[in-house]
Symmetry: C2
Subunit: 204 residues, 2 copies
Protein backbone atom coordinates (compact mmCIF):
# COMPACT_ATOMS: atom_id res chain seq x y z
CA UNK A 1 0.00 0.00 0.00
CA UNK A 2 1.16 3.55 -0.72
CA UNK A 3 2.30 5.79 2.10
CA UNK A 4 -0.63 8.08 1.24
CA UNK A 5 -4.23 7.28 2.13
CA UNK A 6 -5.43 8.50 -1.29
CA UNK A 7 -4.07 8.37 -4.83
CA UNK A 8 -5.31 11.86 -5.76
CA UNK A 9 -3.65 13.18 -2.60
CA UNK A 10 -0.41 11.46 -3.54
CA UNK A 11 -0.54 12.91 -7.06
CA UNK A 12 -1.11 16.41 -5.69
CA UNK A 13 1.81 15.96 -3.29
CA UNK A 14 4.01 14.73 -6.16
CA UNK A 15 3.18 17.85 -8.16
CA UNK A 16 3.81 20.20 -5.23
CA UNK A 17 7.09 18.43 -4.43
CA UNK A 18 8.21 18.93 -8.05
CA UNK A 19 8.74 22.61 -7.23
CA UNK A 20 12.39 23.41 -6.46
CA UNK A 21 13.20 23.43 -2.75
CA UNK A 22 9.87 21.89 -1.72
CA UNK A 23 10.32 18.55 0.08
CA UNK A 24 7.65 15.87 0.36
CA UNK A 25 6.73 16.76 3.93
CA UNK A 26 6.27 20.44 3.10
CA UNK A 27 4.40 19.48 -0.07
CA UNK A 28 1.93 17.41 1.98
CA UNK A 29 1.41 20.32 4.38
CA UNK A 30 0.74 22.73 1.48
CA UNK A 31 -1.62 20.31 -0.28
CA UNK A 32 -3.61 19.69 2.91
CA UNK A 33 -3.83 23.47 3.33
CA UNK A 34 -5.28 23.74 -0.19
CA UNK A 35 -7.72 20.93 0.59
CA UNK A 36 -9.10 22.99 3.49
CA UNK A 37 -9.80 25.97 1.20
CA UNK A 38 -13.09 26.59 -0.61
CA UNK A 39 -13.62 25.19 -4.12
CA UNK A 40 -13.39 28.66 -5.70
CA UNK A 41 -10.09 29.33 -3.98
CA UNK A 42 -8.50 26.12 -5.22
CA UNK A 43 -9.83 26.93 -8.71
CA UNK A 44 -8.28 30.40 -8.49
CA UNK A 45 -5.01 28.85 -7.32
CA UNK A 46 -4.79 26.33 -10.15
CA UNK A 47 -6.20 28.78 -12.70
CA UNK A 48 -3.53 31.39 -12.03
CA UNK A 49 -0.76 29.09 -13.27
CA UNK A 50 -2.72 27.94 -16.32
CA UNK A 51 -3.45 31.56 -17.24
CA UNK A 52 0.17 32.55 -16.66
CA UNK A 53 1.44 29.82 -18.97
CA UNK A 54 -1.19 30.62 -21.61
CA UNK A 55 -1.17 34.41 -21.56
CA UNK A 56 2.28 35.56 -20.59
CA UNK A 57 4.58 36.63 -23.42
CA UNK A 58 8.17 37.81 -23.62
CA UNK A 59 8.84 41.39 -24.70
CA UNK A 60 10.13 41.34 -28.28
CA UNK A 61 12.77 43.97 -27.41
CA UNK A 62 14.15 43.12 -23.99
CA UNK A 63 12.76 39.55 -23.51
CA UNK A 64 11.41 40.39 -20.08
CA UNK A 65 8.12 38.76 -19.06
CA UNK A 66 5.21 40.89 -20.22
CA UNK A 67 1.46 40.93 -20.84
CA UNK A 68 2.03 42.69 -24.17
CA UNK A 69 4.23 42.27 -27.22
CA UNK A 70 6.31 45.26 -26.08
CA UNK A 71 6.75 45.52 -22.30
CA UNK A 72 5.81 48.65 -20.31
CA UNK A 73 9.48 49.60 -19.88
CA UNK A 74 10.39 49.23 -23.57
CA UNK A 75 7.27 51.10 -24.65
CA UNK A 76 7.75 53.95 -22.16
CA UNK A 77 8.74 57.33 -23.58
CA UNK A 78 10.11 58.30 -20.16
CA UNK A 79 12.90 55.74 -20.29
CA UNK A 80 16.31 56.35 -21.81
CA UNK A 81 16.40 53.96 -24.78
CA UNK A 82 20.09 54.65 -25.46
CA UNK A 83 21.20 52.75 -22.35
CA UNK A 84 20.66 48.98 -22.02
CA UNK A 85 21.25 47.13 -18.77
CA UNK A 86 22.03 43.43 -19.44
CA UNK A 87 20.75 41.09 -16.74
CA UNK A 88 20.45 37.35 -16.25
CA UNK A 89 16.77 37.09 -15.40
CA UNK A 90 13.40 38.66 -14.61
CA UNK A 91 14.12 38.91 -10.87
CA UNK A 92 17.17 41.09 -11.61
CA UNK A 93 15.02 43.55 -13.57
CA UNK A 94 12.60 43.74 -10.64
CA UNK A 95 15.45 44.28 -8.15
CA UNK A 96 16.99 47.10 -10.19
CA UNK A 97 13.57 48.69 -10.81
CA UNK A 98 12.94 48.64 -7.05
CA UNK A 99 15.99 50.86 -6.49
CA UNK A 100 14.34 53.62 -8.52
CA UNK A 101 17.86 54.61 -9.67
CA UNK A 102 17.77 53.39 -13.26
CA UNK A 103 15.99 55.12 -16.12
CA UNK A 104 17.35 53.12 -19.06
CA UNK A 105 15.98 49.91 -20.59
CA UNK A 106 16.94 46.27 -20.09
CA UNK A 107 17.98 43.15 -21.94
CA UNK A 108 17.10 39.88 -20.20
CA UNK A 109 19.47 37.09 -21.29
CA UNK A 110 17.36 34.37 -19.69
CA UNK A 111 20.47 32.67 -18.29
CA UNK A 112 24.25 32.94 -18.46
CA UNK A 113 26.83 30.91 -20.35
CA UNK A 114 27.57 27.77 -18.34
CA UNK A 115 29.44 24.90 -19.99
CA UNK A 116 28.84 22.83 -16.84
CA UNK A 117 25.07 23.09 -17.29
CA UNK A 118 25.30 22.89 -21.07
CA UNK A 119 24.16 26.49 -21.61
CA UNK A 120 25.92 28.04 -24.58
CA UNK A 121 25.65 31.51 -26.15
CA UNK A 122 22.92 30.28 -28.54
CA UNK A 123 20.72 29.23 -25.61
CA UNK A 124 20.41 32.74 -24.24
CA UNK A 125 19.43 36.09 -25.76
CA UNK A 126 22.85 37.25 -26.92
CA UNK A 127 22.22 37.34 -30.70
CA UNK A 128 19.18 39.53 -30.11
CA UNK A 129 21.29 41.86 -27.93
CA UNK A 130 23.93 42.29 -30.65
CA UNK A 131 21.19 42.87 -33.21
CA UNK A 132 19.52 45.42 -30.95
CA UNK A 133 22.77 47.32 -30.44
CA UNK A 134 23.60 47.13 -34.17
CA UNK A 135 20.62 49.36 -34.96
CA UNK A 136 22.80 52.26 -33.86
CA UNK A 137 20.75 54.15 -31.25
CA UNK A 138 22.33 52.53 -28.19
CA UNK A 139 25.16 54.47 -26.56
CA UNK A 140 25.95 52.38 -23.47
CA UNK A 141 25.41 48.87 -22.24
CA UNK A 142 25.68 48.16 -18.53
CA UNK A 143 26.66 44.59 -17.65
CA UNK A 144 24.87 43.52 -14.46
CA UNK A 145 25.58 39.79 -14.45
CA UNK A 146 26.65 37.79 -11.38
CA UNK A 147 30.32 37.89 -10.29
CA UNK A 148 30.85 34.20 -10.96
CA UNK A 149 32.98 32.45 -13.52
CA UNK A 150 29.84 32.06 -15.63
CA UNK A 151 29.00 35.75 -15.27
CA UNK A 152 32.54 36.80 -16.19
CA UNK A 153 32.55 34.44 -19.18
CA UNK A 154 29.25 35.87 -20.41
CA UNK A 155 30.47 39.46 -19.91
CA UNK A 156 33.61 38.72 -21.91
CA UNK A 157 31.67 36.89 -24.65
CA UNK A 158 29.35 39.87 -25.10
CA UNK A 159 32.35 42.22 -25.18
CA UNK A 160 34.04 40.16 -27.91
CA UNK A 161 30.87 39.84 -29.96
CA UNK A 162 30.45 43.62 -29.93
CA UNK A 163 34.11 44.08 -30.92
CA UNK A 164 33.84 41.55 -33.74
CA UNK A 165 30.74 43.28 -35.03
CA UNK A 166 32.70 46.53 -35.11
CA UNK A 167 30.31 48.17 -32.65
CA UNK A 168 32.04 50.84 -30.60
CA UNK A 169 29.90 51.83 -27.65
CA UNK A 170 30.51 52.44 -23.98
CA UNK A 171 30.46 49.16 -22.01
CA UNK A 172 30.25 49.46 -18.23
CA UNK A 173 29.59 47.10 -15.38
CA UNK A 174 27.86 47.72 -12.06
CA UNK A 175 30.12 48.70 -9.14
CA UNK A 176 31.17 45.95 -6.73
CA UNK A 177 32.35 46.93 -3.30
CA UNK A 178 31.57 47.04 0.37
CA UNK A 179 27.78 47.08 0.77
CA UNK A 180 26.28 50.28 2.16
CA UNK A 181 26.03 49.95 5.94
CA UNK A 182 28.40 46.97 6.11
CA UNK A 183 31.43 47.09 8.36
CA UNK A 184 34.86 46.88 6.76
CA UNK A 185 36.08 44.16 9.13
CA UNK A 186 33.24 41.78 8.21
CA UNK A 187 33.54 42.23 4.44
CA UNK A 188 35.05 39.28 2.54
CA UNK A 189 38.59 39.76 1.23
CA UNK A 190 37.75 39.62 -2.46
CA UNK A 191 35.05 42.29 -2.21
CA UNK A 192 37.23 44.47 0.02
CA UNK A 193 40.20 44.06 -2.34
CA UNK A 194 38.09 45.07 -5.33
CA UNK A 195 36.71 48.06 -3.46
CA UNK A 196 40.25 49.36 -3.02
CA UNK A 197 41.43 48.63 -6.56
CA UNK A 198 38.28 50.21 -8.02
CA UNK A 199 38.18 53.19 -5.65
CA UNK A 200 36.46 56.32 -6.93
CA UNK A 201 37.11 60.06 -6.42
CA UNK A 202 35.79 61.44 -3.16
CA UNK A 203 33.09 64.03 -3.79
CA UNK A 204 33.41 66.24 -0.72
CA UNK B 1 3.33 50.75 -12.00
CA UNK B 2 3.24 47.40 -10.24
CA UNK B 3 6.44 45.83 -9.02
CA UNK B 4 5.80 42.96 -11.47
CA UNK B 5 6.35 43.29 -15.22
CA UNK B 6 3.10 41.39 -15.92
CA UNK B 7 -0.33 41.20 -14.29
CA UNK B 8 -0.76 37.46 -14.89
CA UNK B 9 2.67 36.92 -13.34
CA UNK B 10 1.65 39.00 -10.32
CA UNK B 11 -1.59 37.02 -9.93
CA UNK B 12 0.29 33.72 -10.07
CA UNK B 13 2.77 35.00 -7.46
CA UNK B 14 -0.14 36.13 -5.25
CA UNK B 15 -1.65 32.65 -5.41
CA UNK B 16 1.65 30.92 -4.69
CA UNK B 17 2.35 33.30 -1.79
CA UNK B 18 -1.07 32.44 -0.31
CA UNK B 19 0.37 29.06 0.70
CA UNK B 20 1.47 28.99 4.36
CA UNK B 21 5.18 29.68 4.83
CA UNK B 22 5.75 30.79 1.23
CA UNK B 23 7.00 34.39 1.01
CA UNK B 24 6.69 36.60 -2.06
CA UNK B 25 10.29 36.14 -3.11
CA UNK B 26 10.04 32.35 -2.94
CA UNK B 27 6.65 32.49 -4.66
CA UNK B 28 8.19 34.41 -7.58
CA UNK B 29 10.99 31.87 -7.85
CA UNK B 30 8.51 28.96 -7.89
CA UNK B 31 6.24 30.67 -10.43
CA UNK B 32 9.16 31.42 -12.76
CA UNK B 33 10.17 27.77 -12.44
CA UNK B 34 6.67 26.73 -13.54
CA UNK B 35 6.84 29.18 -16.43
CA UNK B 36 9.95 27.41 -17.72
CA UNK B 37 8.15 24.04 -17.76
CA UNK B 38 6.26 22.60 -20.73
CA UNK B 39 2.55 23.36 -21.19
CA UNK B 40 1.58 19.78 -20.30
CA UNK B 41 3.58 19.93 -17.10
CA UNK B 42 1.91 23.12 -15.90
CA UNK B 43 -1.46 21.58 -16.81
CA UNK B 44 -0.60 18.48 -14.77
CA UNK B 45 0.50 20.70 -11.88
CA UNK B 46 -2.69 22.77 -11.81
CA UNK B 47 -4.89 19.78 -12.62
CA UNK B 48 -3.65 17.76 -9.65
CA UNK B 49 -5.09 20.26 -7.17
CA UNK B 50 -8.39 20.60 -9.01
CA UNK B 51 -8.75 16.81 -9.10
CA UNK B 52 -7.81 16.51 -5.45
CA UNK B 53 -10.45 19.03 -4.42
CA UNK B 54 -13.07 17.41 -6.66
CA UNK B 55 -12.40 13.74 -6.07
CA UNK B 56 -11.04 13.31 -2.58
CA UNK B 57 -13.52 12.21 0.09
CA UNK B 58 -13.32 11.62 3.81
CA UNK B 59 -13.74 8.07 5.11
CA UNK B 60 -17.20 7.76 6.68
CA UNK B 61 -15.75 5.78 9.59
CA UNK B 62 -12.43 7.38 10.54
CA UNK B 63 -12.64 10.69 8.58
CA UNK B 64 -9.22 10.18 7.08
CA UNK B 65 -8.66 11.40 3.52
CA UNK B 66 -9.63 8.67 1.08
CA UNK B 67 -10.45 7.91 -2.55
CA UNK B 68 -13.38 5.79 -1.46
CA UNK B 69 -16.32 6.07 0.93
CA UNK B 70 -14.60 3.66 3.33
CA UNK B 71 -10.81 4.09 3.48
CA UNK B 72 -8.39 1.18 2.87
CA UNK B 73 -7.57 0.93 6.60
CA UNK B 74 -11.23 0.86 7.74
CA UNK B 75 -12.16 -1.65 5.05
CA UNK B 76 -9.22 -3.96 5.75
CA UNK B 77 -9.97 -7.31 7.36
CA UNK B 78 -6.37 -7.48 8.57
CA UNK B 79 -6.77 -4.54 10.94
CA UNK B 80 -7.96 -4.81 14.52
CA UNK B 81 -11.27 -2.93 14.50
CA UNK B 82 -11.62 -3.10 18.31
CA UNK B 83 -8.79 -0.57 18.84
CA UNK B 84 -9.14 3.05 17.70
CA UNK B 85 -6.21 5.46 17.71
CA UNK B 86 -7.45 9.07 17.98
CA UNK B 87 -5.26 11.58 16.11
CA UNK B 88 -5.42 15.24 15.19
CA UNK B 89 -4.85 15.03 11.45
CA UNK B 90 -4.00 13.06 8.32
CA UNK B 91 -0.24 13.50 8.76
CA UNK B 92 -0.42 11.79 12.15
CA UNK B 93 -2.06 8.71 10.58
CA UNK B 94 0.72 8.59 7.99
CA UNK B 95 3.42 8.92 10.67
CA UNK B 96 1.97 6.11 12.79
CA UNK B 97 1.43 3.90 9.71
CA UNK B 98 5.08 4.43 8.78
CA UNK B 99 6.19 2.87 12.07
CA UNK B 100 4.57 -0.43 11.05
CA UNK B 101 3.79 -0.98 14.75
CA UNK B 102 0.06 -0.35 14.79
CA UNK B 103 -2.57 -2.77 13.54
CA UNK B 104 -5.74 -1.07 14.82
CA UNK B 105 -7.85 1.59 13.11
CA UNK B 106 -7.91 5.39 13.44
CA UNK B 107 -10.18 8.29 14.15
CA UNK B 108 -9.07 11.61 12.64
CA UNK B 109 -10.48 14.54 14.62
CA UNK B 110 -9.49 17.09 11.99
CA UNK B 111 -8.24 19.47 14.67
CA UNK B 112 -8.12 19.84 18.44
CA UNK B 113 -10.16 21.95 20.83
CA UNK B 114 -8.66 25.44 20.90
CA UNK B 115 -10.67 28.29 22.44
CA UNK B 116 -7.95 30.70 21.26
CA UNK B 117 -8.57 29.75 17.64
CA UNK B 118 -12.32 29.41 18.15
CA UNK B 119 -12.31 25.63 17.62
CA UNK B 120 -14.88 23.94 19.86
CA UNK B 121 -15.85 20.25 20.27
CA UNK B 122 -18.56 20.63 17.59
CA UNK B 123 -16.00 21.75 15.01
CA UNK B 124 -14.06 18.49 15.15
CA UNK B 125 -15.06 14.81 14.80
CA UNK B 126 -15.81 14.07 18.46
CA UNK B 127 -19.56 13.29 18.18
CA UNK B 128 -18.78 10.74 15.47
CA UNK B 129 -16.10 9.18 17.71
CA UNK B 130 -18.56 8.77 20.61
CA UNK B 131 -21.16 7.35 18.22
CA UNK B 132 -18.59 4.94 16.78
CA UNK B 133 -17.57 3.70 20.22
CA UNK B 134 -21.23 3.45 21.35
CA UNK B 135 -21.83 0.67 18.82
CA UNK B 136 -20.12 -1.63 21.31
CA UNK B 137 -17.37 -3.41 19.38
CA UNK B 138 -14.53 -1.10 20.41
CA UNK B 139 -12.42 -2.23 23.36
CA UNK B 140 -9.70 0.40 23.55
CA UNK B 141 -9.09 3.92 22.38
CA UNK B 142 -5.54 5.24 22.23
CA UNK B 143 -5.23 9.01 22.56
CA UNK B 144 -2.37 10.25 20.35
CA UNK B 145 -2.94 14.00 20.48
CA UNK B 146 -0.21 16.62 20.96
CA UNK B 147 1.12 17.30 24.48
CA UNK B 148 -0.14 20.87 24.49
CA UNK B 149 -2.84 22.54 26.55
CA UNK B 150 -5.18 22.06 23.58
CA UNK B 151 -4.25 18.39 23.29
CA UNK B 152 -4.76 17.81 27.01
CA UNK B 153 -8.11 19.64 26.90
CA UNK B 154 -9.27 17.52 23.99
CA UNK B 155 -8.11 14.29 25.71
CA UNK B 156 -10.01 15.23 28.85
CA UNK B 157 -13.11 16.27 26.90
CA UNK B 158 -13.21 12.90 25.10
CA UNK B 159 -12.70 11.09 28.43
CA UNK B 160 -15.63 12.96 30.01
CA UNK B 161 -17.91 12.42 27.01
CA UNK B 162 -17.25 8.67 27.18
CA UNK B 163 -17.91 8.68 30.92
CA UNK B 164 -21.14 10.66 30.51
CA UNK B 165 -22.31 8.25 27.82
CA UNK B 166 -21.71 5.41 30.28
CA UNK B 167 -19.17 3.79 27.96
CA UNK B 168 -16.60 1.81 29.90
CA UNK B 169 -13.65 0.94 27.71
CA UNK B 170 -9.92 1.03 28.12
CA UNK B 171 -8.52 4.51 27.39
CA UNK B 172 -4.76 4.79 26.90
CA UNK B 173 -2.39 7.41 25.64
CA UNK B 174 0.88 7.05 23.75
CA UNK B 175 4.06 6.94 25.86
CA UNK B 176 6.01 10.18 26.25
CA UNK B 177 9.64 10.01 27.29
CA UNK B 178 13.22 10.35 26.19
CA UNK B 179 13.40 9.71 22.44
CA UNK B 180 15.23 6.56 21.36
CA UNK B 181 18.88 7.47 20.74
CA UNK B 182 18.65 10.81 22.54
CA UNK B 183 21.08 11.59 25.33
CA UNK B 184 19.67 12.14 28.82
CA UNK B 185 21.60 15.38 29.37
CA UNK B 186 20.12 17.04 26.29
CA UNK B 187 16.50 16.04 26.97
CA UNK B 188 14.23 18.86 28.13
CA UNK B 189 13.23 18.80 31.81
CA UNK B 190 9.51 18.17 31.29
CA UNK B 191 10.08 15.16 29.05
CA UNK B 192 12.78 13.77 31.35
CA UNK B 193 10.56 14.33 34.41
CA UNK B 194 7.67 12.49 32.77
CA UNK B 195 9.95 9.64 31.71
CA UNK B 196 10.81 9.07 35.37
CA UNK B 197 7.27 9.41 36.74
CA UNK B 198 5.92 7.09 34.01
CA UNK B 199 8.78 4.57 34.19
CA UNK B 200 7.96 1.00 33.13
CA UNK B 201 9.15 -2.42 34.31
CA UNK B 202 12.51 -3.47 32.93
CA UNK B 203 12.21 -6.54 30.75
CA UNK B 204 15.65 -8.10 31.12
Amino acid sequence: MSEYPSIVLEQAVNQMASLPGVGRRTALRLVLHLLRQKDEEVEAFAGAFLRLKKEVVYCRECHNISDTDLCPICSSMRRDHTTICVVENVQDVMSIENTGQYTGVYHVLGGIISPMEGIGPKDIEIDSLIERVSKGDVQEIILALPTTMEGDTTNFYIYRRLQNAGIEIKITQIARGVAVGNQIEYTDEITLGRSIVNRIDFKG
